[in-house]
């Protein structure tokens, strides 16, 4: 087991390295000239050349990648002399449109995204799995059909549609909630919940639909297994049979999907953050596209992809916790 973990962590580090490469070279292929983007309105050949030198764009792509990589571990300095900008390790780049290291921008924007992701995650896992089990136990009856129909609708509606409808009715028409304005929970807990509740619920509905269907199909499969019959033959009450035997056995794909979904959400829910004006990673990425500011995009992409890779590792390790056959072979 220990060997397995070490091996997986090493593979992850390799993957992360490949990831930086992929992201860096992909963005260097873009036709945008970063030196011109940060040059300002009155741009002479001289300032352009100065910009190029400061950003390291006068070097070859491979040298640039090397500098970027060393910057990640040891920090780097943009430019020379009094105009030099220092970016401490781990340096994900420097945004010259906002005059801030990209990492600081990302760290600033992370809390709203984390709160949004975690809140929605708890809601859709509890809701999705619970309703999925309920539906499986009433297979073919009207409750099951109703749940399946509703989840199909939830599954197919786009988030901007549900989000805008929710804002229109709940905030504008019925005035049940104030307009969203994000405050950290430690400063204004009530305002925080009032702002977050709608995006939480909207996001949860979208994801819960998927988890309901997944859980239902898993349950229908495991409930037919021989070991479920054994559990019943032992005289176990039905709720123990369902929870301890059937649900546990069907958990693996649910954990996989949940891990990757959570990681994806931590990378920013672009549309919902924009609709509900949450200052998170998603809306940072959107404004970086509009500015445009490539250094921020590279940073956000790297951080998001890192979440996914780490989540993948955690999911794989969780397999071993769930299924002893993985652990021992």
């Amino acid at each position: 087991m220990a060997g397995y973990v070490v091996r997986r962590v090493l593979i992850m580090i390799l993957l992360l390295l490949l990831l930086t490469m992929a992201v860096f070279f992909l963005f260097s292929l873009l036709p945008a000239d970063v030196a011109r983007l940060t040059c300002g309105k009155i741009c002479t050949e001289q300032t352009l050349a100065l910009n190029r030198a400061r950003l390291g764009l006068d070097k070859s792509v491979f040298e640039q990648y090397w500098i970027f990589l060393t910057g990640l571990f040891f920090g780097r300095t943009f430019g020379e002399g009094p105009a030099a900008v220092v970016c401490d390790a781990p340096c994900l780049g420097y945004s010259f449109t906002r005059n801030e290291p990209v990492l600081d921008l990302i760290v600033d924007r992370l809390p709203p995204t984390i709160f949004l992701a975690m809140g929605a995650f708890v809601l859709f896992i509890i809701g999705g799995v619970g309703v999925g089990v309920y539906s499986a136990l009433r297979r073919g009856r009207w409750q099951d059909k109703g749940v399946m129909g509703a989840s199909l609708i939830g599954y197919s509606l786009p988030s901007f549609f549900i989000g805008l409808v929710a804002i229109y009715f709940i905030i504008i028409r019925w005035k049940l909630l104030p307009f969203p304005s994000y405050e950290p929970p430690w400063e204004d807990p009530v305002g925080f919940v009032q702002t977050m509740i709608l995006p939480w619920v909207v996001l949860a509905i979208l994801y819960a639909a998927f988890y309901t269907r997944l859980t239902r199909s898993q349950m229908l499969e495991t409930l037919n297994e021989d070991y479920i019959r054994t559990a019943r033959a032992k005289g176990l009450p039905e709720r123990v049979v369902v929870r301890k035997h059937a649900l546990r056995a069907g958990l693996t794909p649910i954990v996989t999907a949940a891990g990757l979904d959570l990681a994806g959400l931590l990378g920013g829910a672009i549309i919902l953050e924009t609709i509900f004006s949450l200052p998170g990673l998603g809306s940072l990425a959107v404004s970086a596209v509009l500015d445009p500011d490539l250094s921020i995009l590279v940073g956000v992409t790297l951080v998001t992809a890192t979440f996914i890779i780490v989540a993948n590792l955690i999911v794989d390790l969780l397999y071993a916790v769930i299924d002893p056959r993985v652990r021992l072979s």
């Binding site: 054994t230 033959a233 032992k234 123990v240 769930i322 299924d323 002893p324 056959r325």
Partner: protein
């Protein structure tokens, strides 16, 4: 004789499917005395496993229609509430299944699965339940049970797994044990060991045994009485000697003729029964066995196609469902 320990009367089981209603068991009646062994023999689809699950109350009451009576030690099981039947399962009546690998939960240690079986039927501390689990594992011949108790099912061999299933079934000393093809999924070399283990444990504990199998060899070793099922019906029912040496139903006869006998002095050809078991959705008219029966042509008119024979006693205790039972008193299978 005292009242039988298990009585099944006119059991009918059917389930609706998309293709039609499956008539799995039709009008089965049999009984077993305490401590004796009844074997139910038949091909797949003959209704033998469904019969066992009906007794155990393992059939879904909502999706299955069941009628008749099952009386266990004086208690009418079908009259009980679902929860009352549940409390009898695993304590008064227990069951062993065909495939021990798929019948044990792959994610839990065998010890935990045994402990669960103990704790659901009584207030027993975890430590005591674990002690009982280890004892039970040792009792069914698992070496080093105090270490094996923490194994997962996939770490054991097929025979060991079935021993675990037996230990689990017997851990609360049930008075009725149902074994549903307990050796079918095992290696041939292990089959005899498991059969012997079940027989030994049954003798020790005086448990009544309902043995469900398609293996006539197993039946000869273990059973006192035999029930032969075909197409959801009991076609022949008698003592093990009746069935082996005086089979009267052409199907029983055919079954015996299709079993290889190593002990036989002559080299024989196996004689399979032609055709396939009937679909339980669309049963043949008249006698359900008539499409495969070699004796049909000897019956006057179309009796076998039009009228279902009833189960009648040819000699006391030996029942057969046939318009033209085989009267010949030659040892089954060795008939020239």
């Amino acid at each position: 004789m005292s009242a039988p320990f298990l009585v099944v009367e006119d059991l009918n089981v059917s389930f609706p499917t998309e293709d039609g209603v499956v008539q799995a068991v039709s009008g089965s009646s049999f009984s077993v005395q305490q401590g004796r062994t009844l074997a139910i023999v038949g091909e797949s689809g003959s209704g033998k496993s469904v019969t066992a699950q009906a007794i155990m109350g393992l059939l879904n009451r909502r999706s299955t229609s069941i009628s008749g009576r099952v009386v266990l030690d004086g208690t009418d099981l079908f009259a009980l509430k679902e929860d009352q039947v549940r409390s009898l399962r695993g304590s008064t009546m227990a069951m062993i299944f065909q495939d021990p690998l798929s019948s044990l939960h792959p994610f839990y240690r065998i010890g935990d699965q045994l402990v669960e079986a103990v704790q659901v039927h009584g207030r027993v501390s975890r430590a005591d339940a674990r002690k009982r689990a280890i004892d039970a594992l040792g009792h069914v011949g698992i070496p080093a049970p105090d270490r094996r108790v923490d194994d997962y099912p996939h770490q054991l061999s097929g025979g060991m797994r079935q021993r675990v299933m037996i230990a689990m079934a017997l851990i609360n000393s049930p008075s009725l044990l149902i074994a549903d093809e307990p050796t079918t999924a095992l290696d041939v070399t292990v089959q005899a060991q498991i059969t012997e283990l079940i027989t030994t444990l049954q003798r020790e504990s005086g448990t009544t045994l309902l043995m469900i199998t398609h293996d006539l060899g197993v039946v000869a070793d273990m059973a006192d009485e035999v029930c032969v099922m075909y197409g959801g019906r009991i076609v022949e029912y008698g003592t093990v000697d009746d069935i082996y040496y005086r089979p009267e139903h052409p199907y029983t006869h055919g079954l015996l003729a299709s079993v290889p006998r190593l002990a036989s002095a002559r080299v024989e050809r196996l004689d399979p029964i032609p055709g396939n078991p009937p679909s339980l959705i669309n049963l043949p008219t008249g006698c359900v066995f008539h499409p495969r029966c070699v004796r049909r042509s000897e019956v006057a008119g179309n009796l076998c196609l039009t009228e279902e024979p009833t189960l009648v006693a040819s000699t006391p205790g030996h029942l057969v469902r046939c318009h033209l039972p085989i009267g010949a008193r030659t040892p089954g299978g060795d008939a020239a």
